[in-house]
Symmetry: C2
Subunit: 289 residues, 2 copies
Amino acid sequence: MKKPLIDRLYQRVAQRGHVCLGLDTDLSYLPEELLSSDKSPADALVEFNRRIIDSTLDVTAVYKVQIAYYEALGLEGLRAYAETLRYLREQDAIVIADVKRGDIAKTAEMYAQAHFSGDFEADFMTVNPFMGMDTLAPFFPFLRDQDKGLFVLVATSNPGASDIEGIVSQSGASVSQMVGDMVVEQGAPFVGSCGYSSIGAVVGCTNKDQTRSIRHRMKGCFFLIPGYGAQGGTAHDMADYLQDGNGGVVNSSRGILLACRGNRFGGLSFEKAARQECIRMRDEIYECL
Amino acid sequence: MKKPLIDRLYQRVAQRGHVCLGLDTDLSYLPEELLSSDKSPADALVEFNRRIIDSTLDVTAVYKVQIAYYEALGLEGLRAYAETLRYLREQDAIVIADVKRGDIAKTAEMYAQAHFSGDFEADFMTVNPFMGMDTLAPFFPFLRDQDKGLFVLVATSNPGASDIEGIVSQSGASVSQMVGDMVVEQGAPFVGSCGYSSIGAVVGCTNKDQTRSIRHRMKGCFFLIPGYGAQGGTAHDMADYLQDGNGGVVNSSRGILLACRGNRFGGLSFEKAARQECIRMRDEIYECL
């Protein structure tokens, strides 16, 4: 029998390292040869993703596909999104749909159906908790019965994160900390044999003091960590959020997709450069643990 | 020259009343005749929406299309979403894309492109402010140059809304109140001649005390008000949030789409019942002002 999702992710991290490869693929990232081919832009985008995936599968824990980049291209873009997800499923990759949905019960049910089955099926989806914990409940049957998982926004890595997430309540805890506590509570019924829950948290690495305290409060919670590289987070920062050398994945998108245009791996094909950057990032994180 | 968006919405409310018709169209709402026709489910859904729109255009201020219901049907569902939006544009209806997006800058740019142009073009979109005010900025060029608008989640009408929106900060203000203040500040550059901003707020009517204080704090802010009917809000509740008889629209979805299955208008065709329910709701709100 297949292991539960969170145990499979834990195992992938143990075997392949901590890289979460963000397929936030913008058309402008594609090389001339692909853009000028006979393919439609959407098909060229799928081909780009496919070559990235083929080249990185054994050095990547999980793929995160940011739906906004596909949605921006309309129906054709969403076809490319669906085809990218299908290809990832065929490769037995673990996939996070980065859709950040959050809505009232009946609507959340629809989102669960949309992203946990059918054309857009993924393993995990990111959700936004602003409207409250009742907006998570409609996903639970999919966690229980169909081996799916969530990553809930807790502390993000953007400059404005302090506006709301950083509000300090009368109890002295920040909104992020309080959301973190709620996420741990909601996740308790979904803890796998690895000790982590299928309800994980998005915790950025750009505010170190805050994140350390959140890691401490959220021991059984698996982290999806944005903010590495372009956003200023270093491998040392990351290591603080990875307990026992596991317990989280670190996202990089442009840093990998555009590695062929950087100093380190410029001159290589985009897929070879992506692979080299995955390995470099993986090893850099290993060294800091 | 066409009036700015918020002034057109204000005028629609003055001329047609306060009803925001929510096209949260579930396949189970469709009558047998449509489902059993030769049409695909997605085409049947578009036909249902079309007949609802034709029947309610002159008694509805604005239409709100909840993308989750379409997304749940995959690519075909999103084609139905695009076709519904196109039909609404052709009728010169004002349309809110209820997508509740919220993400970091580059991703938010993609969402702006997705929902303010191309296949999924709408007039307003709903956004989730959890990640902070910098996630709104990428939409502003569209507000300024392409006559678009936002409704930002401030106080929602679901039972769990108090979990995060209701957290009281050390200043004594709730998260909802603080978000409301930020929304007013962000909206200041986008105030139309009607006195309201193109950056409006979603303020539910299920917590009366809180909402009254929010209305007071957010004088220049146009409200999108969920919670009427099925969720327990009455026309009297609504009237408190409508200043000078304008300044907001009241959403009803199932109450209108399924009016033909209710006591009042059972026996009428779905589109006739929807029209009667729009008129009844419109007049009920008028009476309370």
